[in-house]
């Protein structure tokens, strides 16, 4: 039963972004109508749906990168170099997408997204130091605090602006 459920959930995860992107691309002109906003505001929270149909693909990338990260982690579990390379590639694509498409209505939100991705990149760089490559125990321990600090900073900044809004 667990295997069947896992397959059903995984197929749903793959199909959901594809179906939603197809539906929203076809109905892009109608996305600003009241009926569509009431139904789908969770999908387009803060997104600039009046700008360009390319914005529809931003949530698709949001979901696709999570599946790709999962595949990288689980399938390449003996090869940290490919895991790190995969994650860096996903972050770089996200940075480029945000820079090129500017998917959010509020320019500040676009900058915040770039800030988040940049901090993510810092964390990824730390993971390189947590391989057998780093032999210095003291540095290894300090980098542990460093990665905690970056994640806390990331959370703090985001919570601060959420609370401020």
């Amino acid at each position: 039963m667990q295997s069947v459920l896992a397959i059903i959930f995984f197929v749903a995860l793959v199909v959901f972004p594809i179906i939603s992107a197809m539906r929203f691309t076809d109905n892009f002109e109608r996305l600003s109508t009241k009926e569509m906003v009431i139904k789908y505001y969770s999908y387009f929270t803060d997104l600039d749906i009046t700008a360009s149909a390319r914005v529809v693909w931003f949530p698709v990338y949001f979901m696709a990168r999570r599946i790709m990260l999962g595949l990288t982690i689980v399938l390449l579990d003996q090869s940290v170099i490919w895991q790190v390379s995969g994650k860096i590639t996903l972050v770089l694509i996200a940075l480029n997408l945000v820079g090129q498409i500017k998917p959010f209505r509020d320019p500040f939100r676009n900058r915040m997204e770039q800030f988040n991705e940049t901090l993510m990149m810092f964390v990824v760089y730390h993971t390189i130091c947590f391989t057998p490559w780093l032999q210095n125990n003291r540095a290894y321990f300090i980098l542990g605090y460093s990665v905690v600090f970056i994640v806390v900073l990331h959370l703090f900044v985001n919570f601060y602006f959420i609370a401020k809004d």
Binding site: M1, Q2, S3, L5, A6, I7, F9, F10, L13, F16, I38, K39, Y40, Y41, S42, Y43, P59, F62, M63, R66, I67, L69, G70, L71, I73, V74, L75, D77, Q78, S79, V80, Q83, V84, K87, V123, V124, T127, F130, T131, P132, Y140, F141, L143, G144, Y145, V147, V148, V151
Partner: protein, 140 residues
């Protein structure tokens, strides 16, 4: 946080931090692994490795790793039933129509979309871990 699942050895300070953070973000309110194993007559399994264990993926089974999040999906049919009952009431009573529409849009669209967005990484990882050890030999 899922970076902690890379083939790396996390320092103890970072490992403790990520474990605590994961228990919050994965909605891990209580442990359901033992209950699921008992109901489905499954053998308890070891985690994939210590990094997975540190982040709360303590089994290779899909439902066990999903934990409390799976219960949220189990509650979903109940919410659909509530929406159906409200629809029946709304047909008789006009003042309930507004409430019914709000519940309908929440259950079938916005709530579902939010749930999928928030739990996407978690479901993907749980599915993929299960696929590595997939088996159809036991009913559970």
């Amino acid at each position: 946080m899922l970076l902690a699942l890379f083939d790396i050895s996390l320092p103890a300070n970072a490992e403790i931090f990520f474990r605590q953070l994961m228990s919050i973000t994965a909605f891990e309110v209580f442990e359901i692994g033992d209950v699921v194993n008992a109901i489905l007559s499954l053998e308890k399994t070891d985690p994939v490795n210590e990094n997975y264990n540190a982040l709360g993926f303590e089994s290779v089974y899909f439902i066990n790793n999903m934990g409390t999040l799976f219960i949220v999906f189990l509650i979903y049919p109940v919410m659909m039933l509530v929406e159906y009952l409200l629809r029946l009431v709304a047909e008789k009573c006009d003042s309930v129509k507004g409430v019914h529409l709000t519940v309908k849009y929440a259950v079938y669209w916005n709530l579902l979309i939010t749930l999928v967005f928030e739990s996407y990484s978690m479901i993907a990882i749980c599915c993929l871990i299960h696929f590595e050890y997939i088996s159809f030999s036991q009913p559970g």
